[in-house]
């Protein structure tokens, strides 16, 4: 009636089939011929670029919805811990207030963004998600220990402060004044022991300065075999810490023994001053540590963790409560479970309640290591 003859539905179907086959054929020829140029020096079309970036941003936005920041990211100690990892692990690619992007990193495509500027385009939760999970096909790695969200937040706490940060503020946060040099500080195999010790002390502190954050325990006076084993386990990804795996992975095998010896020979500190003690919690913790809890099948911590036992069992007296709690929770959750020693501790940690973990940590944070209690056990 209108004078237009509608195509028969069969013809439409055939047309579509031929079109699909054609696309598949062309695509196959394109892929196998090697026509596509994967060179980093050959840029994407603008439209491809825009599409990829949109996909990336939407993916990060959507997937970071479930992320909830912990209490207080403005804690300077947290930012200082994050800054020290940033200087070692991130600055070479992403630049820092005191160092430019490495020319090698600048040659990547996409080039790692200069974080002194790019941080502001992401929300806190999005930064956390990116640092923890990395980004496919961009060269951005995931956090070496994906279970250690607590460490990722340290880095995010630092990143939040990064835009517009002065060189002086950065040096103070990252502790670069402790080890002056072009590359901030280093765990590279070529470094001599003094520089390596200084690099460790940059986070873990020494007799004069406290650790930057309780997550980095003081090392002075720790047992040598335990320190050696810890570094080896970090390097082999058998103990989980994005920060320590990065540092220990660079150490030469002989440097591990040397560092362990240096720190083991020092006198152990006591980190909790009398005024800060929660005596109720400490007394409950002391009961668990010295006698165990029979009804809960919890053995006395001091039976293994004292100066007279195996060098592989760490000394705990004077370690920060927050560190002890974090490690017990990692044992309890089955995260720290990849060594024969973890196989001993994990089932015991699994019997501890939250409150017992708090009490035991409070006890050890203030416990003397070379005192009568230790000798008695």
């Amino acid at each position: 009636m209108l004078g237009i003859k509608l195509p028969h539905w069969r013809a439409i179907l055939w047309g579509a089939l031929v079109a699909i086959l054609g696309v598949v054929l062309l695509g196959t020829v394109f892929v196998f011929s090697g026509l596509y140029n994967v060179a980093a020096s050959a840029r994407h079309f603008d439209i491809s670029n825009a599409l990829i970036r949109l996909t990336l941003r939407r993916s990060v936005e959507m997937r970071s919805l479930s992320v909830t920041p912990p209490g207080d990211l403005s804690d300077t100690r947290l930012a200082r811990l994050g800054a020290r990892h940033f200087a070692l692990g991130c600055a070479p690619c992403h630049a820092s207030p005191v160092s430019a992007q490495s020319p090698v990193a600048a040659g990547m495509y996409p080039a790692p963004p200069l974080l002194t500027e790019a941080v502001e385009t992401w929300r806190t939760e999005e930064l956390f998600w990116i640092v923890r999970h990395g980004l496919k096909f961009t060269g951005m790695p995931s956090w070496p220990a994906e279970e250690r969200g607590d460490e990722v937040w340290a880095l995010v706490a630092f990143l939040e402060r990064l835009p517009g940060m002065s060189e002086r503020d950065y040096a103070a946060l990252a502790g670069t004044e402790l080890a002056p040099g072009a590359a901030d500080f280093t765990f590279a195999p070529t470094a001599d022991t003094d520089r390596l010790v200084a690099a460790c002390e940059n986070c873990h502190g020494n007799a004069e300065s406290a650790p930057v954050h309780p997550l980095a325990p003081p090392l002075d006076g720790q047992k040598q075999p335990y320190l050696e084993r810890s570094l080896r386990e970090y390097a082999a990804n058998r103990r989980q810490s994005g920060i320590m795996e990065a540092a220990a992975g660079e150490l030469a095998p002989e440097a591990i023994g040397e560092l362990a010896r240096v720190f083991a020979e020092r006198e152990a500190p006591v980190t909790v001053k009398p005024g800060e003690r929660d005596t109720g919690s400490m007394e409950r913790g002391a009961a668990i540590a010295l006698d165990g809890v029979r009804g809960d099948d919890i053995p006395a911590c001091r039976s293994c963790h004292s100066v007279s036992t195996s060098g592989q069992f760490p000394r705990l007296g004077g370690l920060p409560a927050e560190y002890i709690m974090t490690q017990l929770e990692l044992f309890r959750a089955g995260v720290r479970a990849d060594s024969v020693y973890a196989a001993i501790m994990a089932p015991i940690a699994a019997r501890l309640s939250d409150e017992q973990i708090r009490d035991v940590a409070a006890y050890f944070a203030a416990a003397p290591e070379r005192g009568e209690e230790a000798a008695a056990r």
Partner: protein
């Protein structure tokens, strides 16, 4: 007697079956022969309720046979009556249909038989309860606590200092021993078939049973209430011994653990303390005072390891220390796989020497 040999038979009752499977087991007689030999195998051995060697078990034994033979007679009677009802001559069948036969055989007889058995069972139970009530000053009191998955055995002594052992119960022949049965986790059940009946161990309460062995010998007991994955690996030995031997054993048991007598065992003792074993285990006379795992003061003299799961020798100690989570999954002891081979051998030698 070497514990290992008896143990292996106890663990593998099929070893007691003479010969293997008959080649032509489809033949009726072979099947019957196999069945009866299996039956015979199940009826003997260290864990059999049918070879009683305790006063309680001797009471239970005739009850068992009475109930069994009553059942057999009733069954035979029914079979005969059914045969008569189906194939008997008409006068017999008519006789079977009378009212008084139906009332007498279907109501009166069962009531009489079941009431009789019931009263008999009550009398046997009452005898046990009476013995518990009669337990006097000179009765030995032993507390048996069900653990995951082993038995803690505590002997009260006149001196007041209890003697703690595990996974075996020693009885002086001819003297009643009062067992207090407890549990600190789930419900277990104590059953030493040759000595007495079974009784549950219930968290939060104490059940009592009196054991009295009638002759010396070693028998085996078993947890008789499902209590978790390794329930089947929760067994124990009962060792009935002459009174004077028992007294000597108890006196030795009260002594502190033996000092290591070889350089290797002395090294083993160091390994024991360096690795914190004393956190869970006690060895009398040493700083090891743990109460979570079994008391090891005289562990080398026991009949088995791990609640009658392993023989008691140095090799088994080493296996248990490193591989206990495979031998008895989910038991409370962590595996200690960090020990070097010489350290492990030394530790095993030390423990084996604690006799």
């Amino acid at each position: 007697m070497r514990p290992g040999t008896m143990q292996s038979v106890a663990m593998r009752p099929w070893r007691l079956v003479g010969g293997g499977l008959p080649a032509a087991c489809c033949l009726r007689w072979s099947c019957a022969a196999l069945f009866s030999s299996l039956l015979a195998a199940g009826c003997s051995g260290p864990q059999s309720a049918l070879s009683p060697s305790g006063v309680e078990a001797l009471h239970i034994d005739p009850l068992f046979w009475t109930a069994t033979w009553t059942g057999v007679l009733v069954t035979l009677m029914i079979v005969v009556l059914v045969a008569v009802a189906l194939y008997g001559p008409p006068p017999w069948r008519a006789w079977l249909g009378r009212d008084w036969i139906v009332i007498g055989g279907g109501i009166v007889l069962p009531i009489l038989v079941l009431t009789g058995l019931f009263v008999y069972a009550l009398l046997v139970m009452q005898a046990g309860a009476l013995r518990s009530a009669q337990a006097g000053e000179d009765t030995i009191t032993v507390t048996v606590t069900g653990k995951r998955w082993w038995w803690e055995v505590t002997y009260a002594t006149p001196q007041g200092e209890p003697i703690v052992s595990a996974n075996e119960i020693r009885l002086p022949v001819g003297r009643p021993v009062r067992l207090l049965l407890e549990s600190d986790n789930v419900i277990h059940s104590f059953w030493a078939p040759q000595i007495a009946g079974k009784l549950d161990m219930i968290p939060g309460r104490t059940n009592e049973v009196v054991l009295e062995a009638t002759e010396p010998g070693v028998s085996r007991g078993q947890c008789a209430e499902y209590c978790g994955g390794p329930h089947a690996l929760m067994s124990f030995f009962v060792i009935a011994m002459p009174e004077e031997d028992y007294a000597a054993w108890l006196a030795r048991e009260a002594e502190p653990g033996a000092e290591p007598d070889t350089p290797q065992a002395a090294h083993g003792q160091e390994v024991f303390f360096e690795n914190g074993c004393g956190a869970c285990h006690r060895i009398g006379g040493t700083p090891a005072q743990g109460v979570i795992g079994p008391d090891l003061t005289h562990v080398g003299s026991r009949h088995s390891l791990a609640a009658a799961t392993l023989p008691n020798d140095a090799e088994a100690f080493a296996r248990w220390i490193t591989d206990n989570q495979h031998i008895k999954p989910d038991n409370l002891m962590p595996p200690f796989r960090q020990l070097s081979a010489p350290d492990l051998a030394a530790l095993a030698a030390y423990l084996d020497g604690l006799e």
